[in-house]
């Protein structure tokens, strides 16, 4: 135990960058930096949330009609998949904290599987919308699918779909980046880079992953669950 502790501290010493006084300062600084970055991410998505709020307030019925086209089962499944991935991510960080690199690698690999699962389900949904001409632009064509209730305001439903694609697309891009980061942790973890004295990257990628989950937690009700009541 004592020798491995010294080994751990040596790994930590190597990881200490020259401009910090000690590991504690480095750890707190890197964590604060990550939180600041997530703050900028909130404002980045915030622009889209603002556009969503304005148009939803102005064209509520058009948004309801658009949201009827969402597959709630797939959306809810994806929400569950992301929550599961957050659990494995949190447990993975915990394994790193406790000095169990093998367990950490396994948990992170499961996280990656969940991540791909999310993207796969999202791709199925995207495909459905694409086939139904629910992609904004010249080829956009919207019908409620119910002859008794024709589309009341297809022009503004197109805005709903613009925001849907922009918001979920940006979110999916974050997922892809997140999977890449977790894969990097797996490789570094296999090479023994992390110890209970030095695991900042694991912690920070974990924060990022949970943040992406958090965004989806809001996107799901905003885009899928606007109202079950028919817009007409």
């Amino acid at each position: 135990m004592a020798t491995s502790d010294i080994g751990d501290i040596q790994v930590a010493e190597r990881a200490l960058q020259h401009h910090f006084a000690d590991m504690e300062q480095q750890r707190d600084t890197s964590s604060f930096g990550m939180w600041m970055f997530l703050l900028t991410e909130i404002m980045f998505f915030g622009g889209l949330f603002c556009a969503y709020l304005v148009y939803r307030a102005s064209y509520y019925h058009a948004f309801v009609e658009g949201s009827q086209k969402m597959n709630i089962t797939l959306g809810a499944t994806n929400t569950a998949v992301l929550i599961c991935s957050s659990l494995t991510m949190a447990l993975g960080v915990r394994a790193a904290q406790m000095g169990k690199p093998k367990l950490m690698v396994i948990l992170l690999l499961i996280t990656i599987v969940f991540g791909f699962g999310f993207l796969g389900i999202k791709a199925v949904e995207y495909h459905e919308h694409w086939v139904n001409h629910e992609f904004p632009g010249p080829s956009f064509h919207f019908e409620t699918g119910d002859p008794a209730h024709p589309a009341t305001d297809p022009q503004h439903t197109e805005i709903y779909f613009s925001l849907y694609w922009a918001m979920t697309g940006l979110h999916a891009l974050h997922m892809v980046i997140g999977i890449g980061l977790v894969a990097w942790l797996v490789i570094a973890g296999l090479m023994g880079a992390y110890t209970p004295h030095y695991y900042n990257p694991v912690e920070n990628v974990g924060l990022y992953w949970h943040f992406v989950d958090l965004v989806w937690i809001y996107l799901f009700p905003m885009l899928y669950l606007i109202s079950k009541k028919h817009g007409g």
């Binding site: 750890r27 703050l39 909130i42 603002c50 659990l87 989950d213 799901f220 109202s227 009541k229």
Partner: protein, 108 residues
């Protein structure tokens, strides 16, 4: 640097695995709840319920999965700043959109 050696063993708070699993279970239950509630038409309350549930879920993720509960006050300040500025962006923009109709329809 030798005197710092003892201090390098700073380890962040380690939460019990059971806690994470419990949070996971609550999040899953809330997801189911929000889907089920959306099937029932309760008028404008639908959106309120959906957003309240999302906010509870988000708070749980931030507090426990992201360790905000065990983090320095500075981290808490960062989160509050983010929410405050997002609120500014949304609310001040809406001061325009929500009041546009007032001036064009004096009859109301």
């Amino acid at each position: 640097m030798a005197e710092h050696k003892e201090e390098t063993g700073s380890v962040g708070h380690i939460a019990p695995a059971k806690l994470y699993v419990a949070i996971w279970a609550i999040l899953m239950a809330l997801t189911l709840t929000t889907v089920l509630v959306s099937m029932v038409d309760i008028g404008p309350m639908n959106v309120v319920v959906a957003l309240v549930i999302a906010t509870i879920k988000g708070t749980l993720v931030v507090l426990f999965f992201m360790h905000l509960r065990y983090s320095p006050k500075l981290t808490m300040a960062t989160v509050i700043a983010a929410m405050f500025w997002l609120f500014l962006l949304l609310s001040l923009t809406m001061t325009d959109y929500l009041t546009r109709a007032w001036s064009t329809s004096p009859g109301h």
